[in-house]
C-alpha cells in the first residue's frame, strides 16, 4: 500500500448551509471540493415543505388562494395571478377591463420589487453593501403601494376571482406616477454602482456560463434562459390577461453568464416601468369586479395556466372533478427547475463563485419546497 504524502490531494466534502431554520431560504448544498475547485454539488431541499398541493386538494377553489401567496412570497402577486387566470378560464368568468389592467400593473410592480430584492441580496452576497440599501429604499415604496391597495405588504392576497377586492384608493394613481417618474433614475444609480465596477465584472463575467441549447435542455426559463440568448417570454409567446395590448421589449443576453443575467434583470425593471406607464396613462373606467358564481364549481376538466413570473415560467395545472374542491393543483415552480441546474453551473468554478451562481438563479426556497 502506498504511503500518503503531504502533496497528495483528495476530494473534500463540504456542507453549505442551512444556517438557521428561520432564515429566508433554507438550502443545503453538499459540495465536493478539490482544493478550491468545485467538483460536484448536490442540493438537499425540502426544509420548507408544507404540502401546499395537498392542502389545496382539501380546500375550495377560493380558500386555496392564500396558500399560493406563501409559496413564492417574494412574488405573491404573480402567484395568485397565475392561479386565478386558470380558475377564471375554467369557469368562463370575464374580468372587467379596468381590473385586467390594474392586475397587469400590480404584477409588474411585483416584478420590480422581486428584482430589487434579488439585486440587493445578490450584490450583498458578492460584497457590494451600498446597493442593498438603495434597492430596499425603492422596494419600500412599492410595498407601500401594495399595502394601500391590498392591505398587506408581503403576502398580499392581491386579486379575487373575476377582478379585484376594491378599486384603487384615493391618491394611488399619483403615487404610481411619482414612482414611475423617479424610478428610471434610481436604476441608473444602481448601474453606476455596478455595471462598470471592476470588482463586480470580475466576480460575475464568465461565471456560471450556460449556452442557449443547454439552458433549454435543463428546462430553464425567465431571465436565466434569456441570459443565454433564447427569446422566450410567456408574456409574448402566449399572451395572457391582456399583455398583448402593451408594448415592451424582451431583453436578451449573449454570453449566458452571471453578468448577462444581471443586465437582463436591470433592463426588465425598466421594461416593467414602461408597461406600468402605459397602464396608468390609459386606465379605463368601470367596475373592478365582474360576475362570478358564489361557489366555484368548474366542469370536469383541466387547464394548465402559465404566466411569466419574475423568476421564470410559473404554471398551475388545475384538474377539476366537478366538485367544489380541486382534484389536483400542481404548481410548476420555476426556481425548482433552475436550482436543478446548479450542479451543472458550479462545476469547475471556485467555491466563492458558488454564492454568485446561487444568487444569479434568484431562487426562493418557499417555492422550491412548497
Amino acid at each position: 500500500m502506498e504511503q500518503a504524502t503531504v502533496l497528495d490531494t483528495k476530494v473534500l466534502e463540504v456542507n453549505m448551509g442551512p444556517q438557521h431554520p428561520s432564515t429566508h431560504g433554507v438550502l443545503r448544498v453538499k459540495l465536493k471540493l478539490d482544493g478550491e475547485k468545485v467538483v460536484d454539488a448536490d442540493c438537499v431541499i425540502g426544509y420548507l415543505h408544507r404540502g401546499v398541493e395537498k392542502i389545496s386538494e382539501n380546500r375550495s377553489y377560493i380558500n386555496g388562494v392564500p396558500y399560493y401567496d406563501r409559496t413564492d412570497y417574494i412574488a405573491a402577486v404573480s402567484n395568485v395571478y397565475g392561479y386565478l387566470l386558470g380558475v377564471e378560464k375554467m369557469m368562463g368568468i370575464e374580468v372587467p377591463e379596468r381590473a385586467r389592467h390594474i392586475r397587469i400593473m400590480m404584477t409588474e410592480f411585483n416584478r420590480i420589487a422581486s428584482h430589487l430584492l434579488w439585486l440587493a441580496t445578490h450584490a450583498i452576497d458578492i460584497g457590494a453593501m451600498t446597493v442593498f440599501l438603495y434597492c430596499f429604499r425603492e422596494r419600500e415604496e412599492i410595498l407601500k403601494l401594495f399595502e394601500s391597495l391590498f392591505g398587506a405588504r408581503l403576502t398580499t392576497h392581491a386579486f379575487r376571482v373575476a377582478g379585484l377586492w376594491k378599486d384603487l384608493p384615493a391618491g394611488f394613481e399619483q403615487a404610481v406616477r411619482d414612482f414611475i417618474n423617479e424610478f428610471p433614475h434610481r436604476v441608473d444609480e444602481y448601474e453606476q454602482l455596478l455595471t462598470n465596477n471592476r470588482i463586480w465584472l470580475a466576480r460575475t463575467q464568465g461565471i456560471g456560463v450556460i449556452s442557449g441549447e443547454e439552458a433549454i435542455d435543463w428546462g430553464l426559463s425567465g431571465p436565466v434562459l434569456r441570459g443565454s440568448g433564447v427569446d422566450y417570454d410567456v408574456r409574448k409567446a402566449r399572451p395572457y390577461g391582456g399583455y398583448e395590448e402593451f408594448e415592451f421589449d424582451v431583453p436578451l443576453g449573449e454570453n449566458g453568464d452571471t453578468y448577462d443575467r444581471y443586465v437582463i434583470r436591470i433592463e426588465e425593471m425598466r421594461q416593467s416601468c414602461r408597461i406600468i406607464q402605459q397602464v396608468i396613462d390609459g386606465l379605463p373606467d368601470g367596475p373592478v369586479r365582474g360576475k362570478a358564481p358564489r361557489t366555484l364549481k368548474p366542469a370536469v376538466g383541466e387547464y394548465f395556466s402559465t404566466i411569466e413570473g419574475p423568476r421564470g415560467e410559473l404554471g398551475y395545472y388545475i384538474v377539476s372533478d366537478g366538485s367544489v374542491q380541486p382534484f389536483r393543483v400542481r404548481i410548476r415552480p420555476p426556481t425548482f427547475i433552475s436550482l436543478q441546474a446548479l450542479r451543472r453551473l458550479v462545476k469547475g468554478h471556485l467555491m466563492a463563485d458558488v454564492i454568485a451562481i446561487i444568487g444569479t438563479l434568484d431562487i426562493v426556497l418557499g417555492e422550491i419546497d412548497r
Binding site: 382539501n58 435543463w218 358564489r294 366542469a299 400542481r330
Partner: protein, 224 residues
C-alpha cells in the same frame, strides 16, 4: 381531551369552507354593486347559454400527424380542452413517442415544462402521468398523458430532457411511482427515510409518519 377535540374542529372548518366563501363573495358584491340589484335579475338567461367546456376529439392536429408511423401507433387519443391539446398514449410506447417528439425535426419539442401525476384511486390503472411539452419552433404547448397501474414502472424521460431528473424524483417522492432508467431516484422534498406518499388520495391530510417524527423530532405521538 383537548387533543381529541381539535381535529374535530378542523374537519368542521373544512366542511363549512364553502359556506364562508358565500359570505365573502356576497359582502364584496354588495360593496361593489352601484346599480340596484333589481337590474341584475335578467342575468341568469345568458348564463344558461354559456358553453360548458368539454373534451373534443381532434383528428387533424398537425403535430400528431407528423409523428413517425412507428410511434404513432401508441397514440390512443388526441383531444382538446379549453384550446389545450391533450394526447393520451399507452405506457408501452411512451418513451419512443417522447424521443420522436423531441428529435423529429418537424416537431422539436425540446422544452419539457412539467412532469406530474394524478391519482385516480379505485381505477384499475390508478395513476395518470402528465407531461407538458413546449416546442420553441412551433410555439406550441401540448400535454401528454399516460396511465399506469400501481405496480407498473414508468420509463424515465430524464435521458431525453435533463429537466425530468428532479421532476420525476418529486413524482416518486409524493406519489410513489417508480421510474426505470432514472439515474438517481431518491426522495427529494421529504426525508429519505419517510414512509408513505402524501399526494396519494388515500393519504389523509392529517396523516404523518409518526415513527419518523418520534425518532427525529422527539415529539410524542399525538392522537389523530
Amino acid at each position: 381531551m383537548s387533543d381529541e377535540e381539535k381535529p374535530k374542529q378542523n374537519s368542521e372548518a373544512q366542511k363549512t369552507a364553502g359556506k364562508t366563501d358565500l359570505k365573502e363573495e356576497s359582502a364584496v358584491a354588495e360593496e361593489g354593486a352601484e346599480k340596484p340589484p333589481v337590474k341584475d335579475k335578467p342575468v341568469p338567461k345568458p348564463k344558461v347559454k354559456k358553453k360548458i367546456p368539454s373534451y373534443e376529439d381532434v383528428d387533424d392536429d398537425p403535430v400528431f400527424q407528423k409523428l413517425n408511423e412507428k410511434v404513432a401507433v401508441s397514440v390512443l387519443s388526441v383531444q382538446k380542452f379549453l384550446d389545450q391539446s391533450i394526447c393520451t398514449v399507452s405506457l408501452d410506447g411512451l418513451y419512443e413517442l417522447m424521443v420522436d417528439l423531441r428529435d423529429n425535426a418537424d416537431l422539436d419539442f425540446n422544452y419539457l415544462v412539467d412532469v406530474t401525476a394524478l391519482d385516480y384511486l379505485g381505477d384499475e390503472q390508478r395513476f395518470c402521468l402528465v407531461y407538458q411539452l413546449y416546442s420553441y419552433k412551433l410555439g406550441r404547448l401540448i400535454r401528454i398523458k399516460t396511465r399506469a397501474a400501481e405496480d407498473e414502472v414508468v420509463p424515465s424521460v430524464s435521458s431525453i430532457w435533463k429537466t425530468a431528473d428532479w421532476l420525476e424524483r418529486e413524482v416518486y417522492d409524493l406519489f410513489g411511482i417508480e421510474f426505470s432508467g432514472h439515474p438517481d431516484l431518491r426522495r427529494i422534498l421529504l426525508p429519505d427515510d419517510w414512509h408513505g406518499y402524501p399526494l396519494r388520495k388515500d393519504y389523509d391530510i392529517k396523516l404523518q409518519d409518526q415513527a419518523w417524527i418520534s425518532s427525529h423530532l422527539k415529539i410524542r405521538k399525538t392522537p389523530v
